[in-house]
Structure formats: C-alpha cells, structure tokens
C-alpha cells in the first residue's frame, strides 16, 4: 500500500464534510461537517509529515486542533444564542437581515 492512500482518504472525508455543509440545514450538523473537514486536513498534514520526514506537519495539525477547539466554543455559543432568540437551530431561520 502506498502512503498516498491516506491522502485519498483525507480527500474523500474533506469532500463529504463539504457536502454536509452545503446540504444539511441543522446548524449543529453543518458545524460537524466543518469539524470533519478540519480533521481531514489534519490527516493530510500528518501524512505529509511522514512523507517529508519532518515533524512540522504534525505541529501544524496540533495548531489546527487547538484553533478548532476554540472555534467550536464560539460557534456553539452563537448557535445557542440564536436558538434562544429564534427557537430554532435551522440555518434557514436565521434571516433577520432578509428584507
């Protein structure tokens, strides 16, 4: 098995995450799609670190994880705030600026 198979897996996971963001309406599920995309890039980072024999890729994956954790906190707080005011977690209902 070639190591580049990992990159193929990362590409498939990234595409599925992107499709989730495009297709789903529930804001929380959309957010999980974003998380899946971040994880896919992490897998690519780790694989490239192995290909090039340099741990910098792993360090970058580590930074991505930290930033993702911070992003989840803020994003979920926003979802909760919207849910409190609109009683809905659907991305379609957030249309306050619409006419």
């Amino acid at each position: 098995m070639e190591i580049t198979n990992y990159l193929g897996l990362a590409a498939i996971l990234f595409a599925i995450g992107a499709a989730t963001v495009l297709l789903r309406r529930n804001a929380i599920v959309v957010f999980m799609g974003v998380e899946l995309m971040l994880n896919a890039t992490n897998l690519a980072f780790v694989t490239f670190a192995r290909i090039h024999g340099d741990v910098t890729g792993q360090v970058l994956a580590f930074f991505v994880m930290v930033v993702a954790a911070a992003e989840v906190v803020v994003g979920l707080a926003i979802i909760i705030t919207i849910f409190r005011s609109r009683r809905s977690a659907s991305v379609d209902d957030v249309n306050l600026l619409h006419s």
């Binding site: 098995m1 070639e2 190591i3 580049t4 198979n5 990992y6 193929g8 897996l9 590409a11 498939i12 996971l13 595409a15 599925i16 995450g17 992107a18 499709a19 495009l22 297709l23 789903r24 309406r25 529930n26 929380i28 599920v29 999980m32 799609g33 998380e35 992490n42 897998l43 780790v46 694989t47 670190a49 192995r50 290909i51 090039h52 024999g53 741990v55 910098t56 792993q58 360090v59 994956a61 580590f62 930074f63 994880m65 930290v66 993702a68 954790a69 911070a70 992003e71 989840v72 906190v73 979920l76 707080a77 979802i79 909760i80 705030t81 849910f83 409190r84 809905s88 977690a89 379609d92």
Partner: protein, 296 residues
C-alpha cells in the same frame, strides 16, 4: 516507501468504515446519530495517526476531539432539543442538486490532484523522531513556533471569554417575588388555569414513570398530569394501556397461585380491589411539585 502489511490491513479495514461513518453524518436524519458517526470517524483518525508514527497527535485527537469537542456538541444538542430534526423542504430551488454536484466535484478534483501529483519518495519519521515523537514535537513547537504557541494561548483565553459572553443571559425584567407570583396565579383562575400545582404523573402498582397519566378522584385519567414535552412528542401512555397491563399481570399471578395453594395476602389484594385500586394520583405529588411548576 510503502507501508507495512499490518498497516495496510489496518488502513483497508478502517478507511471504508470511516467513509461509511462520514456518509452517516451526511445522511443521518437525527443530529445525535450524526454526532455518533463523527465520533467514530475521529476515533478512527486517532488510530491512523498512531499508525502513522504520530502517537502524540493520536492521543490529543482522542482527548480533544472525541473527549471535549464532540461532548460539547452533544451537550448543545441536548440543550437545543434532540428532536430538532432537519426540515426537508427546499428553501432555495435546486440547492440539493447543486450541493450534491459540488460535493462530488470537489471529491473528484481532490482525488485527481492526489492521483496526478508526483510525491517524493517517503522518508519516514524514524530520523526526525530520534528520541520519541513527543520530544521531537516539543523541540519544534517550543523552538520554531514558540510565538505561535503564545498567540494560541491568547486565542484560547479569548474563546473562553467569548463563550461566556455569548451565552450570558441578561435579566430584562425585574425578578418576580413570591407575592407577584401568587397574585398572578390567583389572577389566572379566571382564564381557566389552576391555582394549585399541576397533578403529578400517575403511580400504579407496576408503573410510576413520567409518561403515565394520573387518575382523578372520579377515576378518569388526567392528561395534563403528563409533562408537556412528552405530550408534544406523543410519547405519553394512556391510562387504559397501563391498567390493562396490570390486569393481565394480576390474572397471571392468580392462576399461578391456584396451583401453589393458599394465596398470600399480598397478591390477592390487588385482584380484589380491581384495577383502579393501586392507582394513586397524588402519590408523588409532594416530591416534584417545584420542578413540575416550571416544566409545564
């Protein structure tokens, strides 16, 4: 460099399962199912990290993603309401097909790039991780990237503060006192609301769950004794079903007792009293009066 046979086996077992779980995220109707699927993908990724000579990242993946991030997702799902299912009506015409097309296109482009690109022969991390993987990571993280590390610390503090500020609820009205609440209750009588707390759910010989209605003094079930949430979800049981169940149990007990001999007083009693005997509508009224008042 090609991977070892064991690693290849691990990859070919794990990768299809992970792709299936990721598709579960895309297609699962319920958000909780999607969350569990994502958790599976993340644990699978952690295993692949360990297989790819990155044990530290594998552990961090389990701790941070499956341990913290996905738990946070589940907490928010519980907060927002588990039954908040996706609506299937399209608000933008043709959005679904456009989304499917874009997703497939992205997959084709990315896979094409991976397949077309020529990669240098893989070096492996044996040399870079001379001591251990965490030591090698720490050298780079606290050496080359020490400034980024500090900035990330600031980012985490900021995110924690943002979470606090965003979920903070400011009280817009004066906190109602007991006197105000009492006056409102009395005033509500005219609108048909009850002065007393609502009756607690039913307590039967075999069943004291929240979903069974209590029986009133006249023997009729009181539907409003079941919490409102259960009624909206349609998860309420009817009193007749519960009573019928108990009736059959009592009968079965009677039949068995005939074979055994003289019956003990315990099992004979409910049969004599009839099905409505053990139903105590006010059985647990005292315990959860306060919480019930808020829920309904």
């Amino acid at each position: 460099m090609t991977a070892s046979g064991a690693e290849a086996a691990l990859f070919w077992v794990l990768a299809p399962l992970m792709v299936l779980a990721a598709l579960g995220l895309l297609f699962a109707r319920k958000a909780v199912h999607a969350a569990v699927c994502v958790m599976f993908v993340m644990v699978g990724l952690a295993i692949l990290y360990v297989a790819q000579e990155a044990p530290f990242l594998g552990v961090v993946q389990v701790v941070v993603y499956t341990g913290a991030v996905m738990m946070l997702f589940l907490f928010v799902l519980m907060l927002v309401g588990v039954d908040a299912a996706d609506s299937l009506t399209e608000t933008i015409k043709g959005q679904r097909w456009a989304g499917v097309l874009l997703g497939l296109g992205l997959a084709v482009v990315l896979l094409g790039v991976v397949a077309q690109a020529t990669f240098p022969p893989a070096v492996g991390l044996a040399e870079a991780e001379e001591l251990t993987n965490p030591v090698a990571l720490a050298r780079v993280l606290l050496g080359d990237y020490v400034l980024a590390m500090e900035v990330v610390g600031v980012l985490l503090v900021t995110a924690a503060l943002a979470g606090l500020v965003l979920t903070h609820r400011r009280r817009l009205s004066v906190r109602p006192t007991q006197r105000v609440l009492a006056a409102a209750r009395v005033a509500g009588i005219e609108e048909g609301r009850s002065l007393t707390p609502l009756p607690a759910p039913g307590v039967y010989a075999q069943n004291n769950a929240m979903d069974t209605p209590a029986l009133g003094p006249d023997g009729q079930p009181l539907p409003h004794s079941v919490p409102r949430v259960l009624r909206i979800r349609g998860q309420e049981r009817s009193a007749t079903a519960v009573l019928a169940e108990e009736e059959t149990l009592v009968q079965r007990d009677d039949l068995r007792l005939i074979g055994v001999g003289p019956s003990s007083g315990r099992t004979a009693e409910p049969a004599g009293e009839g099905p409505e005997g053990p139903a105590g509508p006010t059985g647990s009224a005292g315990e959860d009066e306060d919480s019930d008042g808020e829920v309904r």
